[in-house]
């Protein structure tokens, strides 16, 4: 018996010894020393993870953690936002027909939105003090005066598949970047060229927009009861080429026009049928109305006119390689001069656009580059040449415009460097738009920029503005 006990004890001890020797040896072979950098301490558990999370069955009542922390304002409450800005600009070249200040104004924009029942009311108005203009009587149509009403609309959804928006509103469609083919909504070229914020390039329309959303395609129909023309260059701020006088003119010869003015008789229709197929945006367009900028002249009165226009077009936009490509085409049917034999009305035109934009991450962060090629092809060119008055310089049959856009963001995206250039190899003219803007903080933004016109002939589209080259400075406070 004693022998058996001794034997068992011996075996027990031997085994323990063996295990004790084996384990540390094994550990020493397998455990690597912690590599550099992995020594970072275990992170503290965030609040809420310390305890085993509760998963209540049959949830009823509010769960802890879903209580709203921020005060939720009622859906019906009115929101008021806007900005105040001051802007000044100087002409860089002497222009005997214009003042030295290209732009000088302080502006307060107020925007308010309110939802009552199913209706959304939106009102945006600019209150403006412009110290460069002599007169300040209000004209809501042209944006003159101390009030510029940008939006006054009511929107509602009568059916699931239909949205309607009535009133004054900004409307945009088409794929061009500062080039317009099928976007026949009014533009403010004056604001664009003198250095106002690019938002002001689009002038408001007084319209009814009906949008229908169907499975095969979406349809947008815009009805404008009274023609809304562009806010075009008339000479009071920018000098332009006056064909009648055969020279540059400005405040000495402000363009006067015969504008189609009858409500419901001089109306416009615009249509778009669009579809997004897996990221490919396709659209067809139609327009019936008038040329938006003066495209004709009444020989008897000498006033510029807006001849009738119908336009048809199509566009496509999709990702191409690592960027975005777009194509657009439009046919402008000049109804009052379909044969091209009327020298006082612009001929029909075919417009074509191809564009591409990409962010160049291999070169730098937040760097985007885009380029476009645009063509205007005058139809019935031979007839145009036959009826052209003696001594008048003929326009080209083909007018190409190339554009380049470069945008770079710096300093945590607070500094925005932007450059956009139009260049026409046919007209041999160019228009450059450099701009630097900086967000000082969440409210204040400052910008400096220029509108530089380069011309070889003062009768071409951009060339005529060569004396209007200007630089501007703006300061804005948003709230």
């Amino acid at each position: 018996m004693k022998q058996v006990c001794i034997a068992i004890t011996a075996g027990f001890l031997a085994t323990l010894l063996l295990v004790g020797v084996w384990a540390p040896a094994a550990a020493a072979g397998e455990e690597p020393p912690p590599p550099e950098g992995l020594g970072s301490a275990e992170p503290d558990l965030p609040v809420g993870l310390a305890a085993e999370p509760q998963m209540p069955e049959g949830l009823s009542g509010e769960e802890p953690g879903t209580r709203q922390t921020s005060a939720e304002t009622s859906v019906q409450a009115m929101t008021l936002t806007g900005f105040w800005e001051a802007r000044g600009g100087l002409r860089l070249r002497d222009d005997r027909y214009e003042k030295e200040d290209s732009v000088g104004e302080t502006r307060l924009q107020l925007e308010t939105e309110k939802v009552i029942d199913q209706l959304t009311f939106k009102l945006t108005s600019d209150f403006l003090y412009d110290w460069t203009l002599d007169r300040s009587n209000i004209d809501l149509e042209t944006g003159h005066g101390w009030i510029d009403l940008r939006e006054a609309s009511v929107a509602f959804t009568p059916f699931d598949f239909m949205d309607i928006k009535v009133g004054r509103q900004i409307l945009t469609w088409g794929t061009g970047d500062l080039l317009f083919l099928n976007d026949l909504f009014p533009k403010d070229w004056q604001a664009f060229f003198i250095g106002r914020d690019v938002e002001y390039l689009k002038a408001p329309s007084d319209a009814i927009k009906t949008s229908l959303y169907f499975e095969p395609a979406d349809v947008d129909i815009v009805y404008v009861p009274k023609f809304d023309s562009d806010r075009f260059i008339r000479g009071e701020r920018l000098s332009y080429y006056n064909g009648m006088a055969g020279s540059l003119a400005g405040r000495n010869a402000i363009v006067s026009t015969d504008r189609p003015n009858d409500v419901f008789k001089d109306d416009e229709w615009a249509l778009r049928v669009s579809k997004n197929v897996n990221g490919r945006e396709l659209a067809l367009y139609g327009y019936s109305g008038f040329w938006k900028s003066p495209a004709g002249m009444d020989p008897a009165s000498g006033r510029a006119t807006f001849p009738r226009l119908r336009a048809y077009g199509a566009s496509g936009r999709t990702h191409v390689g690592h960027g975005i490509g777009n194509l657009e085409i439009a046919y402008y049917d000049s109804l009052d001069d379909r044969s091209g034999t009327n020298p006082f009305v612009d001929n029909s035109q075919l417009r074509f656009l191809a564009g591409y934009e990409q962010d160049l991450k291999s070169i730098a962060r937040d760097l985007t580059v885009g380029a476009q090629w645009y063509l205007e092809w005058m139809q019935d060119y031979d007839d145009y040449r036959n009826v052209l008055p003696a001594g008048a310089k003929p326009s080209d049959e083909y007018r190409q415009v190339c554009t380049v856009r470069v945008t770079k963001l710096l300093a945590n995206q607070n500094l925005n460097l932007s450059f956009f250039a139009f260049y026409s190899p046919d007209d041999q003219d160019a228009y450059l738009r450099p701009n630097v803007s900086y967000k000082f903080n969440d409210h204040w933004t400052g910008e400096v920029g220029g509108n530089i016109f380069i011309a070889s002939d003062n009768r071409t589209f951009f060339g005529q503005f060569a004396h209007d080259t200007n630089v501007y400075v703006g300061l804005r406070c948003g709230f």
């Binding site: 075996g11 323990l16 094994a26 769960e63 879903t66 922390t69 991450k361 945590n412 804005r476």
Partner: protein, 300 residues
């Protein structure tokens, strides 16, 4: 002699039985550090059979794919290296593309990968009412649109670079929408009582600014608690940390987090409020119609 041998054998047997639990723990403990993949099988946690890829899948799901759709009101405070602060406020809607072959009920299903996002900006004033929509794909660049209400302009944005700042913050687009898990190789480098530690190395190192990043993943629910980014010199230059997690609609949700720039100084603190899942968000919220007409029914 026969008795002696029997005794020794019996002793060995008893010793083994009594010593086994202690030495096994020791052995497992050491083996956990040395061969975590093997030890994961023995680890005393609810997910005891997990390989790296499954940990990655579950973590990705917890971070970006919980529920069939979701909404959050996001507030960001961006502090730059000089201590100056900026605020961002926006509401984000997310929709997950359902798997047509899945038999799991939609709200519980494992994700397929493609998603759509809708971001409605409120602050600061210059981006107020702008809308940003993203259609996220796995096999190609995202489609992105930005709506500028002052111009009624639907701008299409070129999107090949996902590692640029989102709205000027220290979070990248990729942090907000999710980095594809196939872009990195994953390694489980450490398992502690509460965390899995993954090391992720990019398959295409020239496409990114980091050399690798490490994630501390909470084992119980696969929430990422911390992510450290290391540059090509091996220095930690960027850190993500979750500060608060709440159970919302049955999903663990990070409601407070910080992204810190360790190299330049500065950080962004992000907080989520009004979080909701499975609202039954229709896919057409992410079309052009709703760029122009924000769906307040889901945003508020």
């Amino acid at each position: 002699m026969k008795n002696l041998i029997a005794g020794v054998l019996a002793g060995i047997l008893v010793a083994c039985i009594s010593a086994a639990p202690a030495s096994a723990q020791q052995a497992t403990g050491k083996a956990r550090k040395a061969a975590p993949k093997a030890a994961a099988k023995d680890a005393a946690s609810p997910s005891s059979d997990l390989g790296v890829e499954e940990i990655v899948d579950r973590t990705n799901y917890a971070a970006y794919y919980q529920g069939a759709d979701g909404r959050a009101k996001v507030h960001m405070t961006i502090t730059d290296s000089q201590g100056r602060k900026r605020e961002r406020e926006f509401t984000i809607l997310r929709w997950d593309a359902p798997d047509p072959n899945s038999t799991i009920p939609k709200k519980d299903q494992y994700y397929t990968g493609e998603q759509k996002f809708y971001v409605y900006f409120q602050r600061p004033a210059d981006v107020n009412k702008m809308v940003f929509t993203v259609w996220k794909y796995l096999d190609r660049d995202d489609d992105r649109w930005l709506y500028l209400p002052g111009l009624d302009l639907v701008k299409r944005i070129a999107a090949s670079d996902k590692r640029t700042s989102f709205v000027g913050s220290h979070f990248y687009y990729e942090d907000v929408s999710g980095r594809h898990i196939t872009e990195d190789t994953h390694e489980l480098i450490k398992t502690t009582d509460q965390y899995y530690v993954l090391k992720n190395t990019p398959k295409n190192p020239d496409a990114v600014e980091f050399a690798y990043f490490e994630m501390w993943i909470y084992k119980k629910n696969f929430v990422v608690v911390k992510t450290d980014y290391y540059d090509k010199q091996g220095r930690k230059y960027r850190t993500y940390q979750a500060q608060k997690v709440e159970m919302i609609d049955g999903y663990p949700t990070v409601t407070k987090s910080t992204m810190t720039d360790d190299k330049m100084g500065g950080k962004t603190e992000m907080s989520y409020a009004s979080v909701k899942y499975n609202m039954g968000l229709p896919e057409d919220v992410f079309t052009e119609r709703y760029l122009r007409r924000p769906p307040f029914k889901y945003l508020r």
